[in-house]
Amino acid sequence: MIEARHLTKRYGSHVAVSDLVFTVGAGEVVGFLGPNGAGKSTTLRMLSGYLGPSSGDALIAGINVVDEPLLARQKLGYMPEECPVYPELRVSEYLRFRAELKRVARSRRTSAIGRALELAGLSERQGSIVGHLSKGYRQRLGLADALLSDPPLLILDEPTSGLDPNQIREVRAVIRGLAEQHTVLLSTHILPEVEVTCDRALVIHRGHLVAQGSLEELRSRGAARSAVLVVRVPTELTLPEALKTRRTAKRALDGGYEEWEVAVDNGRDGLAALSEQLWQLGISVAEARLGGARLEEVFLELTRTEPLAS
């Protein structure tokens, strides 16, 4: 449904998004994960046709967004991050305008608006002036707008930001419900959101795609480092290379020692082997932390380090 082909966006010398390559298959719900400023919105804007890529292109349902922007935009419903809407219109007036703009046939407009209102949980507010809506309801209006033309693809930029916990749960349920008939790409920096709503995630950091895969696959990346040993190492000690490459953090201590965090792989077996190796070198283990393979840790690790320059 989406095929990003070396999408790149530069602002002067600053590279906001660099050489993004990924695909989203039909019917998938994919989370687009990354810290604030990672390039999530820029990427989604390029896919939705709001921004032109500096290089590369993308296909939406097989249609090139750069060459045939109007056709491609007909295939998607896009909900921008801040959900900007015209404050002077009523909810139903706004959706009628958007339906006409999105070429929903005149005979189907009323039913399409009704359906979108219902899915977004806005039915009882259709007479409200948009400018008087709370942030949560505005967000729902953005969602209703994206759903209007019943497009095969939905691109939602932080659909739950600014909502209260109840609303978040409702919106997530809506998105899950949509997954049966739509392909959804949603961006977020909230990890539980991905775990609740998505089948697969793309992790972006400083404009680079640093990981992608099913949630299981991503978690298993974390499983490879399911424990960390904190060890005290004399500064002058020469260590085997194998040990050095496992080091994830270092801190100097008084008295000619350094404190290291050493990652352990293969769960308990690896822990035993590594402890033995350290013991033989005369390094004492100060602390052992067993961590479950949580998406959050994987995410933190992926987005803490500097990505390789392209």
């Binding site: 804007r45 939705s48 046709g49 709001y50 921004l51 032109g52 922007p69 109007l70 056709l71 935009r73 007909q74 896009y78 921008p80 801040e82 900007p84 809407v85 015209y86 404050p87 002077e88 219109l89 007036e93 305008f97 958007r98 006409e100 703009l101 999105k102 070429r103 953005g142 707008d145």
Partner: protein, 247 residues
């Protein structure tokens, strides 16, 4: 041109449900009413004037018309793009399957139709004059054509300026400055000695156009000037809107 009608309707709606159009209409009709009253009073004291110097000619050729256009047109067009950009609604608009041409023309036509609608009540003045004398409908027609075209050109410039900034105030000031500059250049028609400067001045003269049209002289040179002043800013505006995607 898909999306044009939807955008036109939305723009008209937004103009008339907010106070802006009504305030402008009030200011505009206030000025026109004052102008008409002063003229009628003036002519009632000198009843033996020729047809070519009747109140309708004087009304359309008076300074009140360009002044009210300079006040109303920039204010009418200032928000069309500046407001969309400031509110961020441009993103939802431009991610709908509509072309930049539809967006620009839809917005422009909304301000244009509003401007034309503002002139409608002034037809009453003609009706009033008809009761007390002969009205040459040809002159009335050409006079209205003159102000309709001039306003169309002013609004096209305003639409372009609104696309250049996110601030409505800056858009209005830029438009007013440009149009006022053009107006001043046109006054050169009455100042410069014969030569290229005079040619340019008389070509762009707003007062000259209003005077000509109010006498029933519809010069193709004026029509070309107006068409250029409508087409060129709108063309640039479409390019700018398209260019936003490449920012």
């Amino acid at each position: 041109m898909i999306g044009f009608w939807a955008i036109l309707k939305r723009e008209l709606w937004s103009l008339w449900v907010t106070p802006l159009a009504w305030v402008l209409l009030f200011v505009f009709l206030g000025l026109q009413g004052t102008s008409f009253y002063l003229l009628v009073e003036h002519f009632s004291k000198s009843p033996d004037l020729g047809l070519n110097e009747g109140p309708i000619q004087s009304y359309f050729a008076s300074l009140f018309v360009p002044v009210s256009l300079l006040l109303v047109c920039p204010a009418l067009s200032m928000r069309v793009f500046a407001d969309e950009r400031r509110q961020g609604t441009l993103e939802t608009l431009l991610t709908a399957p509509v072309s930049a041409l539809s967006v620009v023309l839809g917005k422009y036509c909304a301000t244009l139709f509003t401007y034309w609608a503002m002139w409608l009540p002034t037809l009453l003045y003609v009706v009033i004059l008809r009761d007390s004398g002969v009205v040459d409908w040809g002159l009335v027609g050409s006079s209205y054509l003159g102000v309709a075209l001039l306003g169309a050109a002013y609004l096209a410039v305003g639409t372009l300026m609104s696309a250049l900034t996110q601030s409505q105030l800056v858009a209005m000031l830029l438009t007013t400055l440009t149009l006022f500059g053009l107006f001043i250049l046109g006054i050169g028609e009455r100042v410069f000695d014969p030569g290229p400067l005079l040619d340019v001045s008389s070509h762009v003269s707003v007062l000259g156009q209003l005077e000509d049209f109010s006498k029933g002289v519809v010069d193709s040179r004026r029509l070309v000037f107006d068409a250029t002043l409508i087409w060129f800013p709108l063309f640039l505006c479409v390019r700018i809107v398209d260019g936003w995607r490449l920012d």
